[in-house]
Symmetry: C2
Subunit: 232 residues, 2 copies
């Protein structure tokens, strides 16, 4: 009997660079007998990632775009457990017939179709994209998606995702915040920027991770070595 592909089993077991650094930093402070500064006391390391434009799709949309029963194939595993960038991408056709090609699909499938673009994508497409929390898509613009096997019309769901932080309840307790609060993310470097409205999202399934979009990342030239701090 052929074995079914199991994306969870394929997920890498190598810890993230930030997790190793976080562990080593705390150990060094303890070995030296020095008091551990607050960020090093946090239950988890702070990971900041730039989300390129992407979409989340329902299985119904995947069926329409790639053929009935098609399963998204993981190409790259993301920091959040079980989430992946798929091999599959779609073409987005906006209300003014302008196009974004190779829009990456993130898997697994969800119960909602949502496209997350940057401000500059809105300029390229020629329409305003509202800043929204993921899932809050009432009254947002729609678009047509095109795949190799067909089209799928989204009535709404085109958003610019508000900069946000995914948190486990342990992280929320450490920082003293709850879901729906706003925090500050201070990003250092030559063009130091503070994001003043970082939306807090909390779930036992989440690992501590900030998501900013490409426009925000480009504004501050975020690199893996750029210092970042999360503040209430």
């Amino acid at each position: 009997m052929p074995q079914r592909f199991n994306p969870m089993a394929a997920a890498s077991s190598v810890p993230h660079r930030a997790e190793v650094e976080h562990l080593v930093r705390r150990l060094v402070y303890e070995k030296l007998g020095r008091s551990v500064p607050k960020p090093a006391l946090a239950p988890n390391p702070l990971v900041v990632n730039i989300s390129a434009r992407h979409c989340h799709l329902t299985q119904e949309a995947v069926d329409a775009l790639f053929g009935p029963g098609h399963q998204l194939q993981p190409m790259k595993w993301l920091y959040q457990e079980g989430q992946f960038a798929a091999h599959e991408s779609v073409t987005l056709i906006g209300p003014r017939s302008r196009v974004i090609s190779n829009l990456r699909i993130l898997g697994p499938c969800r119960d909602l179709n949502q496209v997350e673009l940057a401000y500059t994508d809105g300029i390229a497409l020629g329409f305003d994209i509202p800043v929204r929390q993921s899932g809050n898509i009432d009254g947002t613009p729609g678009a047509m998606l095109m795949g190799p096997k067909g089209f799928f019309e989204m009535r709404d769901g085109i958003i610019r995702a508000a900069p946000h932080v995914h948190m486990h309840p342990d992280d929320a307790a450490f920082y003293g915040v709850k879901a729906g609060d706003f925090m500050k993310l201070k990003i250092g470097g030559d063009v130091a920027i503070t994001l003043e409205r970082l939306l807090v999202r909390v779930s036992p399934d989440f690992k501590l991770e900030v998501h900013i979009d490409t426009d925000e990342g480009n504004a501050c030239g975020l690199k893996p070595t750029t210092p970042v701090t999360l503040e209430k």
Copy 2:
């Protein structure tokens, strides 16, 4: 005898929207007999403008690119007195032979050749652009410029301009800062951002104006109605 073109005489005498608003705001507070809040007491209104990529050229470079003795023609007057976007533009050819077309020239000519690009332009061109104060170009990368009449080689001068504020000495006195200091620019809206390292530049020739680049402007979706405050 033909009259020589005088760009200064052609400058518009219509006040900037921000200047009118600033005046009206103060008058309203005074008429209502209410205490005037600090920003309204400032000697000048706060204008924030997004600088698209551009270059400043010497007359020598203009001669090489557009022909001997060519004079830049003003297309649009800028907020700083006597400064203009020229009709003329050039093509920039980077060290990896990638190209930026229609790079706008700002006039009048200066005694230094300098190209100001955004972080994303550096990605498009395939090389790192250092963040620098205007004029501080030692050790920066160079490029080839191409015009309708010839080429001009820049040995250096390709920078990403540090976000900065132009100030008259009266403004510097009001805010309690001096040239070379850093201030904060708080930008409101859905994606509120604070620029933590806004470089202060002071000259009796300057009008109060913040310059940010397109990446920074796109990150916060800056519009004419976006609230902005300048803080020490």
